[in-house]
Every structure is written in C-alpha cells, then in structure tokens.
C-alpha cells in the first residue's frame, strides 16, 4: 500500500516528447486510470513508474521514496501486461511462484500465497496447466494472479482487457473492481477505452500528446470537461461541438452557430454573460438533445429544429444523426418512442444546463 507521485516528469525519445511535464499525486488505495488515444503517453507513464523506461527529467515517488534510480524489482510493484507475458514453458503455478522463488521466499509461504491467489481468482484447477492450454480469460486471470502473490504496494495494469472479447471484458472489468476493493491497494491502470476508465476508476487522468489534460473523478470529468479534447474523448457518442458566437440582444443571451440559434436560459446566462459578443466553441452531449415531444421535465430547455439524416435504433434509445441548416452534422440520443424517417424535420429541446462553452483558441473550458 503506497501513494505514487509524479513530479514534473518528462520522457523524451530523441526529439519526441512522450511524456511532457507530468505531475500527478495518486493517493494510497486509489484506483487511477490513465486514458487517452494511442500514442498519448499513458503506457509510457506506466512504464516509467514500473522502471522499464528511464525518466528524462523530474522524479517519481512511491510512498516517500524517490524511485528514479531504483531497479524495477525493488520498486515494490507488480504489473499485468497487455499480452499477459506469461512464461510459456512454466505451469500456471510456476508462473505465479516465479517472482517469489527469485526472492527466495520459503516454499511453504509460496505455496500458501499461490493457493490463496488462485482461490481468489477461481483458477485453482488450472495450476498444473501450461499457458497455451488456457483460454484468453484464464490467461488474463493468471497474469493478475502472478501480480497478486507478490503482494506489491502498487499494481500496474497495461490495457489488460484489450485482448478479451466484449462479454468477457465486461465481466473482468467488474472482477478487477472487486479485486481492488478486496486488496485495498493502489491500482494504476492504463486503457484507451473510456468505458473501462469510467466504470472502474476512482480518478481518471486523461492524456493527449504526452500532456495531462485533466485528472478528476469520472463524474466530474464527464460533467465538467476541462477542454474540447476531454469533452470529446469521454462519453459515447461523443460531445457535439459547434463554432458559435454568444450574442446578446434585448437582454437575452443566445448561442448562434450559423445553423441554429439557442436561447441561453437565465440561470446559465449569469455564467456566460462575460463572454457575450465573443466567438466560442459550443459543446453539447447527444443525451442533452431531446425530441421536444419527449423532453424530460426540469431541464433548462431551449428549443431548435433540425433535419434527420440517419437514424440508428438501439432498442432502448435512438441515435439521430441530424443536420443543421448550415449542413453541420451532430448526434442526438433520443427517446425510443420518437418516430421519424430520414429527411424529416424534428423539433428538439436542448438541456442547456449541461451545455459547455470553450475558448476557440485554447480550446479550454470557459464556464
């Protein structure tokens, strides 16, 4: 059990800066998820922490100890690799016991720890098998088991679910969350899948181009994205963005995208008035655009209309691909009772309480 601290950490590969001034404090027993598109530096950050890469600048602490020059084996960490990296020539038991054997742990203790971990993961009956005799899900559990027996201060996961099929992934996701509660240890987890991040993390660190964009709890990240990238990356289908201007006329504030005008309700206008007359990027999530007819009560409603381009029926909801008057496509997630065909006009109610505006130059959130 340990906290982890990144202090102004840099990693450069030649001219490429893979990790750029990363500063994060991960609390003891926290489940931190690094998320971002491929090449964003999330895996590199994890490898820096594991000691598999040397940091170019800054320092990393595990607990109170600076580990910059500490070899991986002495960092008190265990890692689960994307490919699981099980030793193919060893049985499941030996795979799990390997680290303990190298540390000259007494045999009886190795045996006990392996059995306990195997019981925890439901792989007792597989201990004599070789990795190639296991299914993908079983291998994944063995890889986790190998980490558990070491009883490390910090668990590192590098996209451990990406080689599993969709159903198994959902199941394993829940199991890892349970494991975290049960072991009460710091988990640091890397994924490109925002659903994994949202469902498991106590906090999410969103990265892009080696730079930390935002670190927050899943709900805060979702509700208050710090910039356009985070807004677009978290949530599926992703947030709609429009180049717009905030216009004030007759004491009323309006978002004008050229394709539609939305009145900003008084409550929101208090926050946004400061940017009146300025260009902004207007962001609204698909689930905050309702068919007017089925709009829920108690939202800060503002009305508009659009042409239906494509409809995708999901059963419990409908994804509408809509076209504004200036031919800009955006998506709405509407009630399944909505009956529209392509090219129909539809009246929409937008919940402005959850609308966002961003600075068009810096793309950071304005309010």
């Amino acid at each position: 059990m340990s906290s982890v601290t990144f202090e102004h950490v840099y990693k450069r590969f030649g001219d490429v800066v893979a990790v750029n001034d990363l500063s994060i404090e991960v609390e003891d027993k926290e489940f931190l998820v690094f998320v971002g598109p491929s090449g964003c530096g999330k895996t590199t950050s994890l490898r820096l922490l594991a000691g598999l890469e040397e940091i170019s600048d800054g320092q990393i602490l595990i607990g109170d100890r600076i580990v910059n020059d500490v070899p991986p084996k002495d960092r008190d960490i265990a890692m689960v690799f994307q490919s699981y990296a099980l030793y193919p020539h060893m049985s499941v038991y030996d795979n799990m016991a390997f680290g303990l054997k190298l540390r000259k742990t007494p045999k009886s203790q190795i045996d006990e720890r392996v059995k306990v971990a195997a019981g925890l993961l439901g792989i007792e009956q597989l201990l004599d098998r070789k990795p190639k005799q296991l299914s993908g899900g079983q291998r994944q559990r063995v890889a986790v088991g190998r980490a558990i027996v070491r009883e490390p201060a910090v668990f590192l996961f590098d996209e451990p679910l990406s080689n599993l099929d969709a159903k198994l992934r959902v199941e394993t996701r829940a199991n890892i969350s349970k494991l975290h509660k049960r072991l009460a240890t710091t988990f640091i987890y890397v994924t490109h899948d925002q659903v994994e991040a949202m469902t498991m993390a106590s906090r999410i660190a969103v990265m892009k181009d080696g730079i930390l964009q935002q670190i927050d709890s899943p709900q805060d990240l979702y509700d208050n994205p710090a910039n356009v990238f985070v807004g677009g990356f978290i949530g599926s289908p992703s947030m709609n963005f429009f180049d717009a201007t905030l216009v004030e006329s007759d004491g009323k504030l309006e978002i004008n995208t050229g394709g539609f005008r939305l009145e900003v309700p008084a409550e929101k206008a208090k926050e946004w008035r400061a940017f009146a007359g300025k260009p902004v990027i207007f962001g609204i999530r698909p689930e905050d655009i309702h068919a007017k007819q089925f709009a829920p009560p108690n939202i800060l409603e503002s009305d508009m209309d659009a042409k239906v381009d494509v409809t995708e029926l999901m059963g419990n909801e409908i994804f509408l691909y809509l076209m504004s008057k200036d031919n800009k496509q955006f998506i709405a997630r509407v009630d399944p009772r909505v009956r529209v065909s392509n090219d129909d006009k539809i009246d929409l109610a937008v919940n402005m309480a959850n609308a966002h505006i961003f600075d068009p130059k810096t793309e950071t959130s304005l309010a």
Binding site: Y87, F98, G99
Partner: protein
C-alpha cells in the same frame, strides 16, 4: 519423440484435387511415379549397402545384387575392431560433443545479447559474424593450419574442438539472433519486474524458450561436424586421432592393398547409424528449423 505424420506440414492441394482425393488424376499419378522413382533411387543404395554388409567377399564379387546366403556378423566385428571403427567413433564423439556444447552455449549467449540489447557496436559485431559466414573455409585452410600449429594444437582434440566451434559460430549466432528476436520483449520485462537479474532472465526464461532454436542449430551443427572431412584432414594427421570420416577414407585406401570389402561395407553401415538416427528422430524439428531460419532469420 516419434514422427507423427499429422504434425508434418502437408503440401496444399488445389481445390479440385482436394475435393476428390480418391478420384483419378493423371498429373497426380505422374507425380507419384516420379516421387516413387526418386525414393527408390535414394533408398536402394542404402539397402544394398546394408544387406551387402552381411555377405562374404566372394558373394560381393560374384553376385553383387543377391541377398546374403548367411548373415556374416563377423564383418561387423572386423570393421569395429580390426579397422578401428570403434576408435574413430570415439574420436568423433570426443570432438563433436564438446564442440556442440561450446557452440550452443556461446552462440546462444552472443545471439541473445545481439538480439536484445542495442549498444554501440552491436551491428558491427553482428556483421562481423556474418562476414565469417561468407568466408569459404578453403581460403582459410592454410592460414588456419599455421595458426593451429603455432598454438601447438595440431593433432590434438582441443585444437579441433576450437576450430569446429569457431567455424560454426557465425551461422549459429546468425540463426539464433533471428530466433531470439521473435521472442516477445514483454517476457523479458515481466521477468525483470518479477525480480530476475539479466542472468536469470536469460537462463530461466529466454533460454528455455529458445529450445526449438537451440535444438535446430544443434542438429545442423552435429550433422555438419559429424560429416566434416576437410578440417580434420588438415589438422589431424596422426592416425590415432582420426575421426570417422578420416577413418573411412583411410579404410578405403587400405582396400588397394588388403581386400576386406565386407568389413568396409559393415563399417560404412555403422557410420551411417548416428546420422540416420538424428535425421529420423528430429525430422520434424529439422523441417521446422529450416522454416524458422528462412522466415525469421
């Protein structure tokens, strides 16, 4: 290890022939005839050698194709004892086995480092080994003779072992470097995090995984060294130290003065046995090894 025909790669058949394997097809029949002829061409001399080795000299000369009237086991005794095949066998093993151990040990370690660790000069060393492969042994023969002579190792087993080892390293390193490169780097990293040092990573994780590669390279080298004639011919002039190939040539020359053809046939049959055994036991491994070298080397 037995050879299971199901494990061997079968040539892909065209859709039509695969669809009706029992049907008559002229090209297929022609192919089978050619292959059968070829097989006979290869197998018959060996069979002939084998059954001739049980005949008397008289039978060999007067009815060369007939089967032996009675099995002359005595031929084998004379071949083994009088013609010193037993000694030559021993000498060959004394030279080949330590060479093999040295080659496997050294080339695995060299190849692992060259494949896994980028360091300045890595490529230079690798291409140095490659250059060794390009150099025909005939060109090196005379300088090699003087080198071994100056080292005082002419007519000694250690001398020949060293030369064999040096001679086989380039290809072995080249082959195993390709092999080690195919092993996933995550295994290395996982072992490091598990607490292994570089030696433990190599000996406990990487080397066991390289077994198929080591086996292939071991077989190739064994066959190559077992059949090597030129190097011992130049470096081992003392008849006491003759290896099998030299012994065989020596016996052949002796036939000009003393006629014991039946013993010669028996001796040749015995010499074939280790090579045949290696081939038949490791047949699938040899095929696999060739593919690994071809695709990933």
């Amino acid at each position: 290890m037995t050879i299971n025909s199901a494990e061997l790669p079968t040539p892909k058949m065209s859709a039509s022939s695969a669809g009706k394997p029992t049907g008559f097809s002229l090209p297929r029949m022609l192919l089978n005839i050619v292959l059968a002829f070829w097989a006979a061409l290869v197998v018959f001399p060996m069979l002939w050698l084998l059954y001739t080795s049980f005949k008397t000299d008289k039978e060999i000369f007067f009815s060369p194709w007939s089967l032996p009237a009675a099995l002359q086991w005595d031929n084998y005794v004379r071949g083994w004892v009088d013609a010193h095949i037993g000694d030559y066998f021993l000498n060959s093993f004394i030279v080949v086995l330590p060479s093999l151990a040295l080659i496997l040990g050294l080339s695995a370690m060299t190849a692992y480092v060259l494949a896994r660790f980028p360091f300045p000069g890595n490529r230079i060393i690798f291409y140095g080994f490659m250059a060794g492969m390009l150099f025909p042994v005939f060109l090196a023969l005379i300088p090699l003779f003087f080198l071994v002579k100056d080292l005082g190792m002419l007519n000694s087993f250690p001398g020949l072992i060293l030369v064999y080892t040096a001679y086989s390293l380039p290809f072995s390193v080249f082959f195993l470097t390709g092999f080690f490169k195919t092993l996933p780097s995550e295994l290395h990293e996982a072992a490091i995090i598990d607490g292994a040092n570089q030696f433990q990573v190599f000996f406990r994780v990487m080397l066991p995984l390289a077994q198929p590669g080591l086996l292939s390279i071991g077989i190739f080298n064994f066959l190559g060294m077992w059949n090597q004639y030129l190097l011992p011919l130049v470096l081992m002039s003392d008849a006491k130290h003759y290896v099998l190939t030299q012994g065989l040539a020596y016996m052949l020359h002796q036939q000009y003065y003393q006629n014991d053809w039946s013993a010669l046939f028996a001796a040749v049959s015995m010499i074939m046995i280790p090579t045949l055994l290696v081939y038949s036991i490791f047949q699938s491994q040899i095929q696999k090894g060739i593919t690994v070298g071809a695709l990933k080397g």
